[in-house]
Amino acid sequence: MNPNRISPRRWAIAFLTTWTLVWLSGPLHVDSILVRVFDPDLGVNTLRPGDVVRWRSEGWAETRIGPHGLPGWQPRGPGWRSNGIGRRVVIWGDSQVEGVCVPDPIKIHSQAIRIAADHHSLTLDCLPMGRSGADARDWQDLTAAADALWQPDLHIWVITDLSDLTALSAIEQPAPYRRWTAGSPAWVKLAAAIRAEAAFAVAKRLFYDPDTGGRRRLDFSLGPRTSSVAVLTTAGEGFADVADADGAAIDRDDRFGSIVAQVVAELRSVAGELDGRLALVYAPSVPYLGAGVEYVDRDADAFERLRRPLAEAGIAVVDVGDDFNALWDQETTFPRGFHNGMPAAGHLNEAGNRLVARSIVSLVRERLER
């Protein structure tokens, strides 16, 4: 027999069968295709209510999309607030608040509702306005619509990366929120309908660069290759290495001083529009794995410089960093990371969500006691 004789029929059957199995088993190992539709109340495109979003790449969870595209949220029945003790908060954030990598019962908002009820006899409704990639600029844009829709007692911005907050200073940039939540084209809806997640995942891998998150660009130029230097901090890098695009050092203090001033001014303005119903929860990336288990937030100095003027402006700020560190010391558990991801990095897990939820409840109670 010729060892290199190829039977096209056998190969075709093998490939067809394998990809059929991949297609059928997609829900076990491939993320869902996200479909976004227009929400007239919020005036933006949101995840499609009623969808069940599977997340497999970090954690292992299903999220039922509630009204207005809120992940894992279901509205309370009518009249829950009529006795006067029910409270409602809207929590704003990025993918950490969206929480698609954890099941609905352990998302931040679900845990906050439970902690309030179980430990403080408080009836709480907590609406997760979290969007992957969103920052303070997006939250600011949507605050008025959300406030009109739900009339919450408090808006809480959950800051997991300080650059999400300092985005407020980049006032020359257009608001990116509407760009991220652009409605899904028909072919995406069709791909979701026929459950073509596997093919979608392959296409994403081919056409998107996982290192930059942007569209993949083929690079055939000659070296040496230099990495681009971010003007502002990127996740986890801290403000220590701020440099301009040419690599020249910038006067960090001056630069950050002006950022702080702009951010505080914007926050004062938001708080003013909300009659002071604004608070911040800061959930820094601690502890993390560096030279050892590191407890000191790389953005601690920068955060302190923001915290003081915010307190003077009457905006409550809670730092969950100490609780995160204590979690490791007492339970040998990191607040971030999953079994199938990197420990102490990435998204908040059940324990991290619990601590953030506890802070939210304490902020609500503090507000009630005023």
Binding site: N2, P3, N4, S7, W11, P224, G292, P343
Partner: protein, 461 residues
């Protein structure tokens, strides 16, 4: 250009197709040379000069050795090659290491010294060893010097093996350049199959294992002992999958162009003695060190003490070849000591299955201990790792699924290779299982490759 980048796949396809369209050998050779220099300059155009220097130096030495008859003159020419190549390697690879070590010593006495940051040109350890072996072989009269500069330049710069081997001897490669044969269909098929095997080893096995290895080796004290033990095992798998995967892609790419490169790995973790391990791990480096260092030092012909000395020197220098760092030196020394101690350990060919298993496990344990030295760059980490293994303290028990599956795949692959079903791994076109294995491998690569760019481990050497 990394072998696992899409750019490389396109580059290889274009070079292969254009080479197949060229009917005369000389244009094909020019194409190979141009492609190889482009491939090298893709990393850093500044280092192309080193490649040119190395090529011209040893080509000239080879031609001069051919015409020189006097012993002294021949020795001088060989000396020029040795000084030139080792000087280049020493400066770019080891200068900083020795300066830093000297600074550390000076620092003990309260003195300070400045240092110079030198970038390591990629592949320099590999191509300088190739050109050195060429000059030494010509000097020994075992090789007829290459007449055409173009051929020699391709030998030095041939892109599939330029940056991380296999280290090809001129005697193996130059005759192929003389013939310049077109690849046969079965060679093309087997080249593609080998590339696929390489991708699976690198992307699906090594890169997934790296996700476990990197954090645990960085902070071993943060993890529970089962996780640390798993990470040590995973590192053995990672470095094997990474380097043998690279070698497979290199061999497969060369085969698509009509060239055969030597095999670099033969399932080394199934070895029954440390000596056998070194006959099956990074074979082209091991044989290079044997032929150009160990034997010239005297090998095992001058008594026990001399043999031990030669073994220790060869393995320590072999360790240093991997990188300018003390952990590589100590790793080499560790293997040298092990080879000395186990010199009389000759696995019997008729041993029972139990004995064979025990010998394989013992050898693997020795190799694993060596990898802990190789992987940990400082004594603190090394001590923390072994403390967590021997006197465990509380830590995070983390058993990530993808690395566990990758380890399992590696075990299955080794079990198949050790069994009578070894032909399964050859992916022979007429084997009924091959279409299924290929389809599953491609689907897994398309969907479950870890995201993000991970360079090959051996590129740093």
């Amino acid at each position: 250009m990394n072998f696992t980048q899409i750019e490389y796949v396109i580059f290889l396809a274009v070079v292969t197709l254009v080479a197949a369209r060229l009917s005369r050998p000389t244009p094909r050779k020019w194409l190979l040379l141009a492609a190889s220099y482009y491939f090298y300059c893709y990393w850093d155009v500044r280092f192309a000069g080193l490649l040119v220097f190395s090529t011209l130096l040893d080509y000239t030495v080879g031609r001069s050795l051919a015409s020189a008859t006097a012993v002294r003159s021949r020795r001088t020419w060989l000396g020029i090659s040795l000084v030139g190549n080792l000087g280049l390697l020493g400066f770019f690879k080891y200068f900083g290491f020795f300066v830093d070590s000297a600074r550390a010593v000076l620092g003990e006495f309260g003195l300070d010294g400045s240092t110079l940051n030198i970038i390591l040109p990629i592949g320099i350890s590999f191509y300088t060893f190739q050109t050195l072996s060429y000059s030494i072989d010509v000097y020994r009269g075992r090789l007829v010097p290459c007449r055409r500069l173009l051929d020699f330049a391709i030998y030095v710069a041939f892109f599939p093996q330029l940056v991380a081997g296999p280290i090809v001897r001129a005697a193996e490669f130059l005759p192929q350049l003389e013939r310049m044969l077109y690849p046969r269909p079965e060679q093309i098929y087997s080249g593609l199959a080998q590339i696929l095997r390489g991708f699976v080893k690198k992307v699906l096995i090594a890169d997934h294992l790296a996700a476990l290895v990197d954090p645990v080796m960085a902070v071993p004290e943060a993890f529970a002992w089962p996780t640390v033990a798993l990470a040590v095992l995973a590192y053995a798998g990672q470095i094997y999958g990474d380097f043998s995967g690279y070698s497979d892609i290199a061999i497969g790419s060369a085969r698509l162009l009509g060239f055969e490169l030597p095999n670099n790995f033969a399932h080394p973790y199934l070895s029954r003695s440390p000596a056998e391990f070194w006959r099956r791990w990074h074979i082209t480096l091991s044989t290079w060190l044997r032929d150009y260092l160990y034997i010239p030092l005297g090998g095992n012909r001058a008594g026990r003490v001399q043999t031990y000395r030669n073994l220790l020197a060869t393995m320590t220098l072999g360790g240093l070849w991997h990188g300018a760092s003390w952990n590589f030196v100590i790793w080499g020394l560790w293997h040298g000591v092990v080879l000395c101690v186990t010199r009389r350990w000759q696995p019997a060919s008729q041993a029972s299955r139990l004995r064979r298993g025990c010998e394989t496990l013992a050898t693997f344990a020795i190799v694993l201990a060596g990898w802990t030295i190789f992987r940990t760059t400082d004594l603190t980490r090394f001590a923390a790792l072994w403390r967590q293994l021997l006197v465990p303290e509380q830590g995070l028990l983390w058993l990530p699924p993808y690395p566990l599956i990758a380890l399992l795949l590696l075990v299955i692959e080794h079990a198949i290779w050790a069994s009578r079903r070894r032909e399964l791994l050859d992916l022979r076109a007429d084997h009924p299982a091959t279409p299924w294995l290929v389809a599953v491998a491609l689907a897994a690569l398309a969907i479950h490759a870890p995201s993000g760019f991970r360079p090959f481990v051996y590129f740093q050497f």
